[in-house]
């Protein structure tokens, strides 16, 4: 039994432990300026996508509204005008509204959408000041003519964030079939083309490598994106 095991001495050992802490690196993330990289399949605010030719992917089928457990989606479909169609199909989403005071970001709408019309970005900060602003309409949700998500006044899009608007859709196996894992069976997007598949879930080795499409995280780690205050660390996934 050394002297350090003495009751009186051990009482002061705690002071040594806390006394050393100021010399160690801080764990605080300076949040508004500095943001931690988000998980690859993070569910954030929704985006309504368009095909490469500019047509909207939404066909107004209302499957997303039907599956929504929070009843936060309101869709009205309408027949496409024959001379200037909005979507390639017969109908299109005439009204598309999401109430973000109700949305629980479960992503069931993303899975329900037969045309990958609605996906979720990684943007999670909603700071509207009245209830009306909480209801996003097509004007806010639909990507613009270059395929970029619209930036609302209170939203904080960082460089690279717009390339992560449909991670969850491409993380799952198309049609729920395991043998289709990693096969891109989704349609191309305006401004981005056909996005590659995320590394397969069953691939233990690949699971530790960032997926190809998760560009912003990788560029930030490499210090390639200037002006992004993201700390150059990301959570390490340990193989089970």
């Amino acid at each position: 039994m050394s002297i350090l095991d003495n009751r009186f001495v051990s009482f002061f050992k705690g002071f040594v432990v806390t006394g050393k802490q100021p010399l160690k690196p801080k764990v605080t993330t300076q949040y508004p300026e500095e943001k931690r990289p988000k998980p690859e399949r993070f569910h954030g605010r929704h985006v309504l996508n368009r095909y490469e030719d500019g047509l909207e992917k939404c066909i107004g089928c209302e499957l997303c509204a039907g599956v929504c457990p929070a009843h936060c989606i309101y869709v009205r479909g309408a027949d496409n005008p024959p001379d200037s169609p909005v979507s390639p199909g017969e109908r299109y989403g005439f009204v598309y509204e999401i109430n973000f005071l109700r949305c629980i970001h479960c992503d069931l709408c993303v899975e329900a959408s037969p045309t990958e019309a609605i996906t979720e970005s990684k943007l999670f900060e909603f700071s509207f000041t009245n209830r009306q602003d909480a209801i996003y309409t097509k004007a806010e949700l639909l990507v613009d003519d270059e395929g970029k998500p619209r930036q609302l006044p209170w939203e904080d899009w960082r460089p690279g964030d717009d390339r992560n608007t449909s991670a969850w859709a491409r993380a799952t196996s198309p049609a729920g079939r395991a043998d289709l894992e990693g096969t891109p069976l989704w349609s191309a997007e305006l401004g981005y083309g056909l996005r590659p598949a995320q590394a397969g879930q069953s691939d233990e080795q690949a699971a530790d490598v960032p997926a190809d499409f998760d560009i912003s995280v990788r560029e930030v780690e490499a210090g390639e994106v200037a002006g992004v205050g993201v700390r150059a660390t990301r959570p390490v996934r340990r193989p089970s």
Binding site: R7, S10, F11, F15, T18, K26, T28
Partner: protein, 396 residues
């Protein structure tokens, strides 16, 4: 008037030539300066504590309001002042409003007796850097710490609500318990110095950095007892049972809001500053320290000592878990008070002659051993095996 002042403060150089207009002006200026220093230091100390405790926990602490967040407490204070001042329907209105003031005033009074530096001569008038230097000096501090109990007790009682009442009863029981140990350790220092004058206590420690300080006298025991007792007296962690959130939902100041709530916080942190200053005065030689470039820089040394003491208080807060109520009472009544009493006896004996000192030492040892045995028997009789210091928790 002149003779009354001179009689009230014998030996104060300010009143040596009688009290004319300028003496009163100097007194007034000192009063305002001391008040301002304490008020500003509260704003500083709240931020200091939050920053230090954050660094001890690998965080940055508040860093948004003002440069590096140093205006955060000012912002919090302003916010509190614009809040609605609620008075509960069940409250005793007069006492409810009076309690925060009763809590605050003694703290400011205590700081008046702290010598911040040596003397200063302006235009023929020599004054101590100390608001008041009465011959009963350090007793003011004991008096004030007794009165501040009333602030807490009355606040809890006047709120007309049960949690604040329980909190204030806890607080007053704790403060009264530790008052005894506090007074006994102060008495030890007074015996060692031979004076109640705070300026004399400081002067007795002068000459020799650390070597002459009271912290080394009595094997550091008075310092240890005083520091523990004053921490409990301030209800600082680890003795902050008064505001044990999980048990009392906030404690004695739960029903308070707005300015009254701010006053309690002001009192708490002003007490932290004042008591650090008192410890520096009693045990660390006050403004004693080497001259820098031939100049006497007492206030600088004094501030440095207070800052170090404040750091230690925050360090203890970040390290030690809160005591259980029976542990608190055990520490106060069964360890600190007998210990301080024995120490006082030994010091008193040693002041007479070394023979008396040895006799007192032997007597105290026997008394302490008997007490320890009595506590043991009492515990075995009541079948209560737990309790005591936190370190006893690990014993099988």
């Amino acid at each position: 008037m002149t003779s009354a002042l001179a009689a009230l403060y014998p030996g104060d150089p300010l009143f040596a030539k009688g009290a004319d207009l300028w003496v009163w002006v100097i007194l007034l200026v000192k009063l305002v300066v001391v008040f301002a220093i304490l008020m500003v230091s509260v704003l500083f100390v709240i931020m200091y504590e939050r920053k230090v405790v954050a660094r001890l926990g690998n965080r940055w602490g508040p860093n948004r309001a003002g440069p590096n967040g140093w205006l955060q407490s000012l912002a919090d204070g302003l916010k509190l002042f614009f809040k609605e001042a609620l008075v509960p329907a069940q409250a005793d209105k007069v006492v409810y409003r009076l309690a925060p003031v009763v809590a605050m005033v003694p703290v400011f009074v205590t700081f008046a007796i702290v010598p911040v530096g040596g003397t200063l001569t302006i235009g023929g008038y020599t004054t101590r850097l100390q608001l008041a230097d009465p011959p009963w000096g350090i007793l003011v501090m004991l008096m004030a710490s007794s009165i501040s109990v009333y602030g807490v007790l009355l606040a809890g009682w006047a709120s007309g609500s049960k949690y604040p009442l329980i909190g204030s009863v806890r607080a007053s029981a704790q403060m009264v318990s530790y008052e005894a140990a506090l007074g006994l350790s102060v008495a030890t220092v007074v015996l060692l110095t031979g004076s109640l004058h705070t300026s004399a206590i400081v002067a007795a420690q002068h000459g020799g950095f650390l070597y002459h300080w009271n912290i080394l006298r009595g094997f550091g025991a008075p310092f240890a007892i005083f520091s523990i007792a004053i921490t409990a007296e301030m209800t600082r962690p680890p003795f902050d049972l008064v505001e044990a959130e999980e048990e009392l939902a906030g404690g004695f100041n739960m029903e308070y809001s707005s300015v009254a709530f701010a006053l309690f916080y002001l009192a708490e942190y002003a007490a932290l500053v004042t008591n650090s200053a008192i410890i520096a005065t009693l045990f660390l030689g006050g403004p004693d320290g080497p001259r820098i470039a031939g100049h006497s820089v007492g206030p600088v040394w004094f501030t440095l000592k207070v800052l170090i003491l404040l750091y230690v208080f925050v360090w203890a807060r970040a390290t030690l878990p809160r005591l259980r109520y029976d542990q608190l009472m055990d520490l106060g009544w069964k360890r600190l008070i007998p210990g301080a009493l024995a120490l006082l006896l030994v010091v008193a004996g040693a002041r007479v002659s070394w023979r008396y000192g040895l006799a007192a030492l032997a007597g105290s040892m026997i008394a302490l051993l008997l007490l320890a045995r009595a506590i043991e028997v009492g515990r075995a009789g009541s079948g209560k095996e737990q309790g005591g210091m936190p370190s006893e928790l690990e014993s099988p």
